[in-house]
């Protein structure tokens, strides 16, 4: 493996929005079709979450990518409607036909709330907020999810890449180098994760976005020359996602914890409960539920 194909640590600089335009959005628009062909299997916990939702619920897939979660649940087709939002228009064009049916998709930013607040019954954010380049922006993305779901019963599931990778994963992750040594909060690591697009899979046009470079030639000169696209990821440390969700909820003035139906002191309160959290095959996840008394 040449060095350009390995995960490597980076330090984010400049305007984070412009940084993500170059190192996330432009990349996904270029690799959309190849990327999509490798992303078809739903993660078990996400499939279970969607299966558990009541018939008639409408949800948001924030960072829907190729729309692989839009047709779920497979066992009850058409009983939920998940609307996909993404920054990559090329991925959305694929998502429009996910699962062989017409899907609803919206070109938008996961930091925005282009919806009636609280209009959705549920929201999922899968492998998305780890592409945001600052902690404040990742927290804002969680806030946008919480604003999108019902304050009475809204449920949300968030998935991000973990620093702790599956033993079967071939990826070698640089160790976390916390910038702020005095911080007691868990901190992950900022990296570039290369996407290798060989000439066979490359889009016909030779347009070259910023952030792209050619891979070093392999020993095998006959092998088609590949293009390598560096995608920015913030890989999460253990506990960091729960902390981020807690920070987002508190920034919205929400109580963090389960709804306590016995307590009179809870009258007129609005909160968020962390229903489950954990690690599944190289990812951290957290499930949140909003409540109001």
């Amino acid at each position: 493996m040449s060095i350009s194909n390995s995960v490597r640590a980076v330090s984010v600089s400049g305007n984070p929005r412009e940084y993500e335009d170059v190192h996330v959005h432009a990349v996904y628009d270029e690799i959309a079709s190849h990327f999509s062909s490798t992303r078809y299997k739903p993660w078990p916990i996400i499939a279970e979450f969607l299966s558990s939702l009541p018939t008639g619920w409408v949800g948001l897939d924030s960072g829907a990518g190729n729309g692989k979660y839009l047709p779920l649940p497979y066992d009850r087709p058409g009983q939920l409607w998940t609307i996909g939002l993404d920054r990559s228009r090329n991925l959305l064009r694929i998502a429009q036909g996910a699962g062989g049916e017409l899907r609803e998709v919206v070109w938008g930013d996961v930091l925005d709330v282009p919806w009636r607040h609280g209009a959705f019954d549920y929201a999922i954010s899968i492998a998305t907020i780890h592409h945001l380049s600052t902690s404040a922006r990742r927290r804002d993305a969680v806030k946008s999810l919480l604003h999108s779901i019902s304050p009475d019963h809204g449920r949300a599931l968030i998935y991000v890449w973990a620093v702790e990778q599956d033993s079967k994963s071939k990826r070698v992750i640089p160790s976390a180098q916390p910038e702020d040594q005095s911080s007691t909060e868990p901190q992950g690591v900022d990296v570039f994760v290369p996407w290798v697009l060989s000439d066979r899979t490359a889009a016909p046009e030779e347009k070259r976005p910023a952030g792209q470079h050619e891979a070093a030639r392999s020993e095998d000169e006959l092998k088609p020359k590949a293009k390598v696209y560096d995608r920015f990821y913030h890989m999460f440390a253990k506990g960091e996602l729960e902390q981020l969700a807690t920070d987002a909820a508190q920034a919205m003035g929400l109580y963090v914890g389960p709804r306590d139906t016995d307590s009179m002191a809870m009258e007129g309160m609005s909160g968020v409960e962390v229903c489950q959290s954990g690690w599944e095959r190289s990812n951290y996840y957290v499930e949140l539920r909003r409540w109001r008394t």
């Binding site: 018939t55 429009q96 017409l102 899907r103 609803e104 919206v106 070109w107 938008g108 282009p114």
Partner: protein, 123 residues
């Protein structure tokens, strides 16, 4: 696609545009009608969450007058079939949606609404 199920959820999100920012008004639209699988259970579950007036007005803007102005109390199959058609079978392919308050224009191309804003418009 922008079907009316999605239109009923979308709102203007320009910085400071917090009132009268829903529903967005269709402008210069091209529509396609495409059959979709009918699912009565889904519709019954979704019905209480619909912004009814917005749905009826949007359907009329697109030339469909099958829904009653007031949401009926008796839910029968004919009503559910009309609701199904309005929510899920009318596709806005091209055109735009305009905020009734700040007049921001959200273009629709190839069935995909563009809800992105310029940096100075973000709240």
């Amino acid at each position: 696609m922008v079907r009316l199920i999605t239109h009923n959820l979308l709102a203007c999100h320009v910085k400071g545009c917090n009132t009268n920012n829903f529903p967005l008004q269709f402008q210069d639209v091209q529509i396609e009608l495409r059959e979709a699988d009918f699912n009565a259970d889904f519709l019954r579950g979704f019905l209480p969450k619909i912004e009814w007036n917005a749905l009826v007005d949007a359907a009329r803007q697109l030339g469909d007058t099958s829904l009653p102005q007031e949401q009926p109390t008796m839910i029968d199959d004919d009503f559910l079939k009309a609701l199904h058609h309005v929510l899920l079978e009318i596709h806005v392919e091209e055109g735009a949606m305009v905020c009734p308050n700040c007049k921001h224009v959200y273009p629709i191309a190839s069935g995909i609404p563009n809800m992105l804003l310029a940096e100075h418009e973000i709240g």
